[in-house]
């Protein structure tokens, strides 16, 4: 429950901000000039703020859509990402946002039309080519959808731009606006999935795997293309058994035709972010795991990572065609073996 809302002065009177504020009649509303005054200062503690994050209603003036990192994508040539939100209502212990941001408050950029204009400019630069836009890099794309209303705007935007493809990455079950709309082939709802025990242990406050599967089934029944994201792969003493069970569970609910793409990616995190996580959660077994530093990222040892990736690729091929399976990390040799997202 959001009890504090910061709002940029310029947005105070806008209908969109008012609509959001009206959803929280008892919240304290605190005016600020720019969200950065609240979000960026040093000497904030992510772990403490996670106990009661505030919502910050803001606008983004530039860099609305950015080129995606090289290892990010699902087979497209032109890959971009955008973040209409920063941070997330869930609390996954492996989440790199904890290492990236000073603050755990949720920033919601409500000037959606500026994001869409930027996408349009990019589409103009790639006339008649497919362009992929990924959402969910700095947030969960759907978790706050009932408040943000972003998905409905996105659907309207995509209706008339058939070469624009968007992935909404999520662990959430907030799919109402999708269920209300006719399905679109250029909007992929991609669910991050982990074995039940792993999710229970590390994906705090997220909907259960069962609930995520239910949401996927509902979307697939309506004809929405589903993405499966087994990322990050987390190793534990029963890794193979857990992932084998997870794949079996998922494909007992979904058929290969429901699936747009599957990606797998091992745990990886830039070293400075990882160090911050360890400082925030020194008692956390996941962070004490035997990781290594490779290409500036903290990862599993290369051989172990390859074994994990190969195992998952092999298991997934029992259920789905190879050309739908992508691996999203170019740090290891396995990247050469399968479809690599570049």
């Amino acid at each position: 429950m959001i009890e504090t809302i910061y709002i940029e002065n310029e947005l105070m009177a806008t209908p969109q901000a008012q609509r959001i504020l009206a959803q929280f009649p008892t919240a304290d509303k605190i005016a600020c000039d720019r969200y950065t005054e609240v979000f960026n200062p040093k000497k904030q503690n992510f772990r403490l703020q996670k106990q009661k994050p505030a919502l910050i209603i803001a606008q983004k003036f530039d860099r609305h859509v950015l080129r995606a990192p090289d290892d990010y994508g699902i087979g497209g040539i032109h890959n971009y990402y955008f973040s209409y939100m920063l941070n997330c209502i869930y609390d996954c212990r492996y989440c790199f946002l904890q290492g990236m941001y000073q603050s755990a408050h949720y920033v919601l950029f409500i000037n959606y039309s500026d994001f869409f204009h930027s996408m349009d400019s990019i589409l103009t630069n790639h006339k008649n080519e497919n362009v992929w836009f990924f959402s969910g890099y700095d947030c969960d794309s759907l978790a706050l959808d009932p408040i943000s209303g972003f998905t409905s705007h996105l659907i309207d935007f995509l209706k008339y731009r058939k070469n624009a493809y968007v992935e909404l990455r999520t662990k959430s079950t907030q799919i109402r606006s999708l269920l209300k709309a006719p399905p679109m082939t250029n909007l992929i709802v991609a669910f991050s999935m982990s074995p039940t025990k792993t999710a229970d242990k590390f994906e705090h406050k997220t909907p259960s795997i069962e609930k995520r599967l239910n949401a996927m089934r509902k979307l697939a029944d309506k004809g929405w293309p589903i993405g499966l994201r087994f990322d990050p792969l987390i190793f534990d003493s029963s890794f193979e058994e857990r992932y084998r069970t997870l794949f079996a569970e998922v494909f007992s609910v979904l058929s290969p035709e429901d699936i747009h793409s599957v990606t797998i990616g091992p745990f990886r995190m830039p070293k400075p972010f990882f160090q911050k996580l360890v400082a925030l959660y020194p008692e956390e077994p996941l962070l004490a795991s035997p990781f290594q530093l490779r290409s500036g990222s903290i990862t599993y040892a290369q051989t172990q990572e390859e074994q994990m990736m190969q195992f998952c690729q092999h298991e997934l091929r029992n259920y789905i065609a190879t050309n739908k399976i992508f691996s999203c990390w170019t740090g290891g040799e396995h990247a050469k073996a399968e479809n690599v997202c570049t």
Binding site: T4, I30, Q49, D236, S237, P290
Partner: protein, 270 residues
Amino acid sequence: MRIITALRFEAMPIIEHYKLNNESSASRFPLYRNDSIFLTISGVGKENSSAATANIHAVSGELPQQPFLNIGIAGHRRPPTGMAWIASSIQDESTCRRWYPPQIICNSMARTSVITVNQPEQEYRHDTAYDMEAAGFYPIANQASTSELVQVLKVTSDHPGKPASSLNAKKISALIQINMNNIEELITSLQKLADTLNIKGAEPIHMQHFLDRWHFTVTQRFQLQKVLARWAILSPTKNPYLLLPPGRSNATAVIKTLEIMLRESPLNLH
């Protein structure tokens, strides 16, 4: 817990409530304390508040992640007097600098913006609290701690219908006194929050056994400490010293072997 008040009359109810002992009443910033609470009296104004905040941090041992609380009276456009507020933003009127203390404590107290002025406010131009210390206190306390633990509590002492000129020592103490429940609740919550930050990583286990048997350089000691601390988190029931295969002739080999052994004891989710 470090508490800063501007006036002795503001401090007295708190000193009595927590039975704080007088440590140095003759110094520029009188200091009172018990086992967990330090309180100082800064005098009026931003500069005094900054200096007193720095001083209480120093004399209380410069410990990191301690709660800091500025308590005092303030003018407010909105009556009634005696109303307690938590500062949700603090603005220094003379420099226009602004801070937003994170609001993560659940309590029933109302929130207000606070403007720190150099002279007592008489016009109450905005719907805000007017004080003379918060903007001096906050940036210094925030340097010493983390912003969630740095809070400002103001009690309305005057408003357009009841000017500050009617205040006296007794009335000021009474305004704080009637809010002792609120103050106590806030202090307890802040202390609880601070305690969650004191969670440490596991202590490295059996370190001394290793140090007694092999020679470790300073760097190697640090590496050993790190690997044994991780061992304590991942395999708390296993003794790494006893499990170490024989034949390790030096510290480098010992650390490497421990690393390899850790790699082979993966995360157990049971």
